[in-house]
């Protein structure tokens, strides 16, 4: 917002026992005295009708533009206070002061005063955010893939009123599932084989006027962002450009590589087939009268173990084996059907299906399959049987395979390295410069693609061919599956506005894929609407703030463009960062990355937090009251600490907790400010990083960890102990552990000599 004059007021809440636990007289004195806030009111209960009316009156009179409410946690009563009209800054006196500290204590009073000081300092440096400009408003959805997932997605989107273009690479709709005769049950009571739902679904889609189906078409290029994806579609005849609001990627799967099954015995006999090949035999029909009958008297379905195949089968191929076994039993009366498994994963409703197969006479035999010989002897090892048992007399062996995600387009020129597919966000080979000098030992030349590539590249080229600075691919996590925050945001990819669903995300059955399509479509519609209103999507849904860059100060070091977890920042021809706002999720990782701190948000910026740290009163070294700064991730760590307060778990009174958007947004300035100010320790508290990350911004906590690894050296050069600055990973459920971790750290810091910078 433009520089209107700020008029601040502090409202001290007397409710929830705050006035009993701390002296609000002293606090009021401090506010009007040292903090120099002209207006300070004490209110019975800020969130009550009278309290709200009192605050509202001040705002409406024009006396207040920033209401600093010292009451409960910023995570509660948001709607009530936001409705007041002014910018609201909260000081968390309830959860993190009176509920987690002894009442009437000197230290509690100091903590409460510091909370208000920090809020006042924050108010000075924050503005009410305004939208970055008109939003991008295409509400048309692109669905890539014409299998069961894509068809369901198109149909679901059309039901909500959206226009849809469905793109299919081959000439036919239906995909793999369309070819199969019978299906794993996808509807209640989850017993019995079900008819193929694809013919009906295809009919529905073809008859839907809101859906444009383009077969034999691929995506050649994708530019822009949510609400304004410019997509070049390519078919044999030529190219065409179209604009879409969001993209649903339902590119499905391809069969697991049979070459990997050869050591087991695949290929040694025509009667050893994969489950996918067996589908063809089933589709052709297993009539009693055909000669096939003789050859299907004893059929063994083999589900091999092995960590390599595991992620691709994921309980689906187990259910496929059950399905096919049932089909054989139904078609060939008297057939002896075995399912030989090491781990049978028939979870959820598949338990019913498994039991049905047992009742129909299918024998489930446990054992590790060692080999399958060309005369169809299956050797099984099992501890209960006491060794290896070669089982013979089998007419056909069907080996379960798996679904390898089509996260790449196998018909396209493959990428040259795994890093191109962005398994790791930060490509170590991209040279990073600082003030014109290289900082990470790069040679300044184009990155050497062949060098230090420990992750093998997946076969095939990019599906959407994104014209993003971070590369053409949708990032993958492991085994080629598209990366997503599995717990909280399963459909998200790391490319805002692009949602994956179906087996490209994980192996799944037809029923699961159809549900998945619904979920992804709803997220895509949300993203289009958010883009229209210039709002952020998940997890900061509805946030208007956006990163601003002062290009005069920018050194073109490219850290922000490299580290953005969502590929939101491109580079203009001069090498300066260009932010695509609709792709941005407002995590602030760019802000934490910027060495010259010129990336800021209206309501969140390096100077704001630095001033908050500076506002804390640090007692001198003789007071024996250490101060510890805690930068807590507001997604998980901060709520966990609030929850600790709600449960009245006591925290060390020496902690000063500041919420941050993500640990990725933490700049080293804050740590150095704290240490120079005389803080004795600093803790960064955020989400789990790594392959099983829980970071809501995917890479934020990982990036923070990497940045922290160089802090030790800095501390040494300041003649400080290295373990004064630490990072801890907690989850939102850690309301017991998080306070323990903090208190232990506080004890450790308390045992150290005070920070020598105190008092300078």
């Amino acid at each position: 917002m433009a520089a209107t004059e700020k008029k601040q007021a502090v409202y001290l809440c007397e409710g929830c026992g705050i006035s009993d636990a701390i002296s609000l007289d002293e606090l009021e004195q401090a506010v009007t005295g040292e903090m120099r806030v002209p207006l300070c009111r004490r209110i019975d209960a800020c969130c009550g009708e009278d309290g709200l009316a009192q605050i509202k009156k001040d705002i409406d009179k024009g006396e207040v533009t920033q209401a600093i409410i010292a009451a409960c946690s910023p995570r509660v009563m948001c709607e009530e206070f936001d409705a007041l009209g002014a910018q609201v800054i909260r000081a968390n006196l309830r959860e993190q002061v009176i509920w987690s500290q002894p009442a009437g204590d000197e230290n509690t009073q100091m903590l409460a005063t510091d909370h208000v000081r920090m809020a006042v300092a924050k108010a000075a440096k924050t503005e009410k955010p305004a939208a970055h400009g008109p939003g991008a408003s295409s509400m048309k959805l692109l669905v890539v893939g014409g299998g069961v997932t894509g068809l369901s997605a198109a149909r679901e989107a059309s039901k909500t009123g959206a226009d849809v273009v469905l793109v299919e690479k081959t000439g036919e709709l239906g995909g793999w599932a369309g070819k199969w005769s019978k299906h794993i049950p996808y509807a209640s009571p989850y017993r019995g084989l079900q008819e193929n739902p694809l013919p009906d679904l295809i009919k529905e889609v073809m008859g839907d006027k809101a859906i444009t189906v383009k077969t034999n078409t691929t995506v050649a290029r994708t530019e822009g962002g949510p609400g304004e994806f410019a997509v070049q579609l390519q078919n044999g005849k030529g190219d065409e450009w179209d604009v879409f609001g969001a993209i649903v990627v339902a590119t499905g799967w391809r069969p697991y590589d049979t070459a990997k099954l050869e050591p087991l015995g695949y290929g040694s006999s025509p009667h050893i087939v994969t489950d996918i090949e067996f589908e063809d035999i089933l589709s052709a029909g297993l009539s009693k009268k055909t000669k096939k009958k003789k050859s299907l008297d004893v059929v063994a379905f083999v589900i091999p173990g092995g960590a390599d195949r595991m992620p691709y089968s994921s309980g689906v191929s187990d259910r496929v084996a059950i399905k096919q076994a049932l089909q054989v039993v139904e078609a060939v009366p008297g057939a002896m059907v075995y399912v030989i498994y090491e781990d049978l994963r028939a979870h959820g409703t598949a338990e019913e299906f498994y039991r049905e197969a047992q009742e129909a006479g299918v024998v489930f035999q446990k054992g590790e399959v060692i080999s399958i010989s060309s005369d169809l002897t299956v050797t099984v090892r099992d501890d209960l049987l006491g060794g290896e048992v070669p089982m013979s007399g089998i007419d056909m062996v069907v080996i379960s395979t798996g679904m390898v995600p089509n996260s790449t387009d196998i018909d396209r020129e493959p990428s040259q390295s795994g890093a191109d597919q962005l398994k790791d966000d930060i490509d170590p080979r991209v040279p990073i410069t600082f003030s014109g000098k290289l900082v990470n030992g790069g040679n300044g030349a184009e990155p050497d693609k062949a060098a230090d590539d420990d992750e093998p590249a997946l076969p095939g080229g990019p599906i959407l061919n994104l014209q993003y600075r971070q590369g053409p691919h949708i990032p993958i996590l492991a085994n080629g599956f598209a990366d997503s925050h599995y717990i909280c945001f399963p459909y998200e990819t790391r490319r805002t506005g692009i949602y994956t669903c179906g087996p490209v995300r994980r192996a799944m059955t037809v029923g699961e894929a159809r549900q998945d399509a619904q979920g992804a479509v709803l997220k895509a519609i949300q993203a289009m609407r958010a883009a229209d209103e210039s709002l952020a999507v998940h997890p900061r849904s509805g946030d208007l703030s956006y990163p601003k860059i002062n290009h005069d100060i920018c050194t073109k070091c490219r850290r922000c463009t490299v580290e953005c977890p969502f590929g939101a920042i491109d580079e203009d021809p001069d090498g300066r960062p260009h932010i695509n706002f609709s792709r941005c999720r407002r995590c602030g990782t760019c802000m934490g990355a910027c060495p010259v701190r010129t990336i800021t948000f209206d309501n969140y910026n390096p100077q704001m937090v630095a001033d908050m740290i500076g506002a804390v009163e640090v007692p001198d070294e003789f007071a024996e009251k250490p101060r510890i700064l805690v930068l807590a991730c507001e997604n998980d760590a901060y709520p966990a600490l609030d929850m600790a307060g709600i449960n009245r778990r006591q925290l060390s009174p020496y902690l000063r907790i500041i919420p941050v958007r993500c640990l990725g947004s933490v700049t080293m300035l804050w740590i150095s400010t704290a240490l120079e100010k005389g803080f004795d320790g600093v803790m960064l508290m955020g989400c789990k990083s790594g392959d099983d990350y829980q970071c809501h911004f995917i890479k934020g906590s990982g990036i923070a960890e990497e940045r922290m690894s160089s802090v030790g050296e800095t501390l040494k050069s300041m003649m400080l102990e290295e373990d004064r600055v630490v990072m801890e990973e907690v989850s939102i459920a850690d309301s017991v552990r998080a306070p323990q971790v903090l208190n232990e750290f506080a004890d450790k810091i308390g045992a150290m000599p005070p920070n020598p910078f105190k008092g300078f």
Binding site: Q365, T377, E388, P390, S392
Partner: protein, 199 residues
Amino acid sequence: MTAPDAARKYDLGFARWVRDNVDGGDKLSMCMQCGVCSGSCPIGTQMDYGPRKLFMMIRAGMKEEVMTSNTMWSCTSCYRCVVRCPRGVPVTYILQDLAAKSVELGYANPNDNTRFSKSFWWSAKTWGRTDERLVTARYYFSFGLKEGMRRSLDNLKIAYCMIKAGRMHLGMPHKVKDKKGLQAILKKAAEIEQRESGS
């Protein structure tokens, strides 16, 4: 107990034969190998293999090992396994019929289990009751006169103690009141068996 021989081949035809011919064999596919039967069996420790393992072996085609095992002969028909089986597998029936089939097919002749079983059946059939002395004696002397004498003398002390404790009586064997009725029942049962196996 014998471990499977990796050099041999175990024909799954056996599993099919059990399914199609053994009483309750068609329910074997319901077994989920939970082991409640083996855990419940009061004489499981005496068996070569518990019912759970025996079923696993049947499914693996281990015909010799199954048919020569003592499992089905050790079963006392207490029906605990049947009552407890969560999948409704009639364990006792399967074991009983397997014992009968093992005799039929010549796997069980003659061994400890069949000798004892025969003596037991002789007593039950003749008197309608089992008589400890007669069953034991018949069992011992089925090994021959010399062996029978040796075994009887070896167990003399036990017999003496049992008599003293009132667990074994002297005099005429106990018998059922209606011996004729018993014979009629057995005759009918044989008829039914004949009819069913004939069809």
